[in-house]
Amino acid sequence: MNSTYEDLENPEADHGNAVRTSSIDLRMLTALADEIRFQPTCIEPAAAVAVVSASFRKRQSKVSSYFFSDVGVEPAASKSAVATSGSVDFLANKFNSGLQPAALPENRPRANKTAITKDDHRTHLKPPREVIKMGDRLFYMLQPPLESLLAGSTMEFPFPPFDFQYEGVGFLFTRYSAILADEMGLGKTMQAITSIRMLLRTGHVKNVLLVCPKPLVTNWQREFKTWAPEITVAAISGNKTQRAWHWKHNRSMVKIANYELMIRDEAIVADQELEYDLCVLDEAQRVKNKSNSTSKVIQKINRKRSWALTGTPIENSIEDLVGICEFASPGLVSTGMSARTIKSSVNDLILRRTKDLVLKDMPPRLMRDAELDLSQEQADSYFAAENDGVIRLNGMGEDISINHVFELVLRLKQICNFDPATQTSTKVDRLKADLEEVAASGQKAIVFSQWVGAIEKISESVQRYNPLQYHGRIPSKQRDPILDEFKNNPDRTVLLMSYGAGSVGLNLQFCRYVFLFDRWWNPAVEDQAINRAHRIGATGSVTITRMMMAGTIEQRIHEILEAKRELFNEILSKDAQPTNRGLSREEIFGLFNLSTPQGKIKAPSKAA
């Protein structure tokens, strides 16, 4: 006879007729009064083969039994325990009771169905690795599929979720510590909101703190209104006194704070009397550096559950992931661990899906690299600046620093955009030609640049397309109206954005064209920018034009970044060694074939 589950569960199980009863500590579902009874059957393992007649006994199988609470089933003692904790029933009951959703707009399609059919996709809750007891694990696995739980008449969705989104919800819902690292545009916001909604409905959480970058606060409010209109949401804002009131007395189910504010309100945030059942960090790469002040404040939040949302868990190096883990699951991994160790440690903590993996039918993302030639004026300025700069840098000897090189890089990149003397720009000429096509086809385009100055110059050149600007100099209160105007006014063909202000959290999937007027240092940020348009809801293919001037610093940076992008993809998908994603010191020096004080440094090859 094989080993039995009862031995595993309860090594001291009495193999006689006595019934051992143990309560399951369900951790998350603390209120569930489960009971496991192990009743060994009559046959002795050794006797099974030895005596033929023993084989003819009616019962040979050992049975492990798991009882779940339900009205009329549990013994009185168990019911009492349930009543005390205040959460009696199974998940489905909870979903269909309690919070009532606000009425959805009449013209919005109802996504819910009354029942799922045999051909529908079914998502089963899976227990996290940290749940060890068999009864606890089976509790999750034996629940009805998520689609069925969420098909309750009082829990409606404005749009039908994708299968992978159900899986994401199932992942978050069961975890105290989680990093949802889906690629940008796959609906992390919706998955987080739905999971929060489920936890609120089932009574497993009462209050939630969501921290996000400041420009995204209104976006989150809007998304909550769309996906969970019954949940009360408050954005913490105002002067110090008002914010203090919000922190301490606002009874909204979800409070939204921005990162900058967390630092200002550190004294309140760190108050251990303020406890959150769940703390969600959006764009969690903001805490990738464990030693920065934001991370330190975030760590002080008194919380039971910690979820991190990020599309780029590794921006520069594997250490970024360590920083995010320090929030989600403190102490799980630490600096200095090998990539292999970190990968195995966080395996159950992170869920990452890419569009290629889950959205087979998503409109394609068409990348095209526009390699342009400098105008004569630009070429004169560029090569003069490069030659002067390199001569000057080489002449600095041991005084040379990375900042000196960096200044030259920036200078050259700016010339690639516009000639400083004449303001001529091959890129703008190309952009105008492309925009003409975009406007003629009734589509819209987003143009990203690193510099606000460049955005303003572009704006002057493309006035006929009624450009709008969205960057750091635009006050926060004016930003949402700008996006609304861009979305709703057919005469507004182009939106000029800075990477800093416009690369995260915005939903601009109605745009079919994205132009990267100049290149950012980090492919992850570029991806974020591109995914403002190429995300769920995109109605057609999205064409991304990456502008770069041939034979210039831009092309050299592009080659290095492309090599890094490939390596990054491997880190999160396969057993590859981590690498630095931004430009390293050596790489920046290598751009000009310069020497560090320690010796000559060559730019790494693409294969490296």
């Binding site: 006879m1 094989n2 080993s3 039995t4 589950y5 595993l8 009743q39 059957t41 099974a48 083969v49 033929v52 084989s55 003819f56 009616k58 019962r59 040979q60 199988s61 050992k62 049975v63 492990s64 039994s65 798991y66 009882f67 779940f68 339900d70 089933v73 199974f90 489905a92 009951n93 009354t114 029942a115 799922i116 059919t117 045999k118 051909d119 529908d120 079914r122 089963h124 068999m134 694990r137 089976l138 509790f139 696995m141 034996l142 629940q143 009805p144 599929p145 069925s148």
Partner: protein, 174 residues
């Protein structure tokens, strides 16, 4: 049981799965009409016994699945489901052993099943169910019961849960 009787409050889904290298494991999942779990029982894998196999001949599979595994599971059930649904034909005789009506969910519609559908079987939401219940009123009751459950979930779905749970239990025990 008459057709006028109330629909079941508890459905038992029972199956036997093959466990590679170890034999066969049985699982019984008792659900509410909404598909919520009430209790779950599973057996340790039972290895086939060569001696029994010789003695029972062609009836061995039925003996192993029904008499040994299935009946052990049903006996363990505290909440006593009013209808048993299985996906293994070997478990059909459980109806006689436990006096609980048993219906079998067919994997696919075959010619023989098609024929059965017209007499003792029926189809619900594209799923074909057969039974060896002889009482016509009881067949109608079972049909209504299956239809009521299928309003929440397809009848095939609970078997997925049982298989997942047996896999999980087996993985842990190994």
């Amino acid at each position: 049981m008459s057709a006028a009787e109330a629909q079941p409050a508890k459905y038992g889904f029972i199956t036997v799965v093959d466990v590679p290298d170890l034999g066969h494991a049985g699982g019984l999942l008792v659900l509410s009409p909404e598909g919520r779990p009430i209790e779950f029982h599973c057996t340790a894998p039972v290895a086939e016994n060569k001696t029994q196999k010789i003695l029972y001949g062609q009836t061995y599979q039925g003996f192993l699945f029904c008499d040994q595994i299935g009946s052990a599971l049903v006996e363990k059930s505290r909440s006593k489901p009013e209808l048993l649904v299985t996906d293994r034909s070997e478990l059909m005789p459980l109806g006689k052993l436990s006096s609980t009506p048993v219906v079998k969910l067919c994997q696919q519609i075959e010619a023989s099943v098609q024929e059965a559908v017209s007499t003792t079987g029926f189809e619900i939401n594209g799923e074909t169910v057969e039974t060896d219940i002889s009482d016509l009123q009881q067949i109608q009751w079972a049909k209504d019961a299956c239809r009521a459950f299928a309003q929440s979930l397809p009848l095939i779905e609970p078997f997925e849960r049982i298989k997942l749970a047996i896999d999980e239990a087996g993985a842990v025990s190994r």
